[in-house]
């Protein structure tokens, strides 16, 4: 008997817990209110969905969440900043919008807004564009091989101070796989790449990342890496005193002016240019003759 009472009480309690939701659903159905769409788990999708629904508050919230989630490729980072800028502008925060657009344009100076954006929202974008255009520099790197430290020395240009980390992928020229290292992005960064200690030439590509690991810029790619190191060297064979050939390697890279071909090309080029100018001048002279009048009277 006692067990039967306890079971009933449990059922009642369960019904009390379930009922409010069921009643609310029923009431909503009765009033024909649309149920709020479920928010996608991906904050980027959620931001896009909110933006499409002209819900700028949530667009801001979700886009910021997406940005902080990190690990986005450059194109998506540009999209996130565009969403943030347009939402902030729509909500009347012109300064915030300009800051978001500034970041967007710093990453991709060709990024545009849709034509549908109103002039009021476009103003912060145009202001940001002017600020970016006023800076002659854009994100860039200059890489050198530092063999003694088995490193790549990377000088960073980051005019808007957006880059926090460099992700450097390097391998000996022609090697199958890249090794990847991350290094803080200061003015000059040293990236330890094992192959840099031994290889004549190192293939690399570099990603610039923001504090959340989002990609802001990429220099080279896995399939189109850049190369740093000495140019391919000439091999010289000389006869050794003991009669055997020995292989010598010209370790010192020759400058351009030390190349005989350079001087041949220079002299030949100068001769060709001179001849071209002469012929051109002669042709020009032949086809354009000045004319001058004079006067005579009567039959000559």
């Amino acid at each position: 008997m006692t067990r039967r009472l306890l079971g009933a009480l449990g059922l009642v309690l369960a019904a009390c817990l379930v009922m409010p939701a069921g009643v609310a659903d029923a009431q909503r159905r009765r009033r024909r209110e649309p149920a709020a769409p479920a928010r996608p788990a991906d904050p980027m999708q959620a931001a896009e969905q909110a933006f499409a629904a002209v819900d700028f508050d949530h667009t801001l919230e979700y886009a910021a969440e997406a940005l902080q989630a990190g690990q986005h490729p450059r194109e998506r980072v540009v999209r996130i900043y565009r969403l943030l800028g347009m939402s902030a502008g729509a909500l009347g925060d012109a300064e915030g919008a300009r800051d978001f657009f500034l970041r967007m344009l710093a990453i991709d100076s060709s990024a545009e807004l849709d034509d549908s954006v109103s002039p009021r929202q476009r103003a912060p974008y145009l202001e940001a564009r002017g600020l970016v255009a006023a800076r002659s520099e854009s994100m860039a790197i200059a890489v050198e091989l530092v063999r003694a430290q088995a490193s790549l020395r990377i000088e960073i240009t980051d005019p808007f101070q957006l880059v926090r980390t460099l992700r450097v992928h390097g391998r000996a020229f022609g090697a199958p796989a890249f090794e990847t290292v991350e290094t803080p992005a200061q003015g000059t960064a040293m990236a330890l790449v094992e192959a840099a200690g031994t290889a004549d030439r190192v293939e690399y590509w570099v990603e610039m990342l923001d504090p959340f690991g989002n990609q802001l810029a990429s220099f080279g790619s896995e399939f189109d890496p850049r190369v740093v190191g000495r140019a391919p060297v000439a091999e010289l064979r000389t006869g050794s005193p003991d009669g055997r050939d020995s292989m010598l390697r010209d370790e010192r890279p020759r400058s351009l002016t030390e190349e005989p071909l350079f001087w041949v090309a220079l002299v030949g080029g100068a001769a060709l240019v001179g001849a071209g100018v002469g012929v051109g001048f002669a042709v020009e002279s032949a086809s354009h003759i000045p004319v001058q009048t004079s006067v005579s009277f009567g039959l000559p």
């Binding site: 354009h288 000045p290 001058q292």
Partner: protein, 159 residues
């Protein structure tokens, strides 16, 4: 003096020597009185195709209304007669046949002399002679005294 400047100065005489001699367009007046009676003149140059070499009569018919069948390449505008005597320099233009059309106007602005010649200028070409012939507008001047000589109206020696 830098080597570049020296090289440039050395090259100048060569460049000057290479510049072509101007071709002379001789304006032939029937006589000195016709020159004196002409107050102003105008030279126009028309580029012609090979099938337009006989265009002079049509070009002269276009005077003075400038109703020409082809567009002109150069127009001196009205110049004092003495400028023709001193030598008008025509800007250089390309090769091929051209028609040289001249009209001279009296002090009353009537066209009194016209002439047209088709010629081609090229390096080493001889002079181009444009013979001027009186128009009907010249008739009244025949009965009037000639107001001077070429030297008196322009100064200097007879060309």
């Amino acid at each position: 003096m830098t080597s570049t400047t020296r090289a440039f100065l050395l090259a100048l005489p060569c460049l000057a020597a290479c510049s072509p001699e101007p071709v002379r367009v001789e304006v032939n007046f029937p006589n000195a009185a016709a020159f004196v009676n002409s107050e102003q003149g105008r030279l126009r140059i028309f580029p012609l195709d090979r099938d337009q070499l006989g265009l002079c009569p049509a070009l002269l018919e276009g005077l003075p209304a400038t109703n020409f069948p082809v567009p002109f390449l150069y127009d001196s505008d009205l110049r004092n007669r003495c400028e023709f005597r001193a030598g008008i320099h025509v800007p250089e233009f390309g090769g091929g046949p051209h028609a040289y059309v001249l009209e001279m106007r009296s002090s009353t602005n009537d066209v009194i002399l016209t002439g047209c010649t088709v010629g081609e200028v090229y390096s080493g070409a001889g002079e181009i002679r444009v013979e001027l012939h009186p128009t009907a507008g010249y008739a009244p001047l025949l009965t009037m005294p000639v107001p001077g000589t070429p030297e008196s109206v322009c100064g200097g020696a007879t060309p």
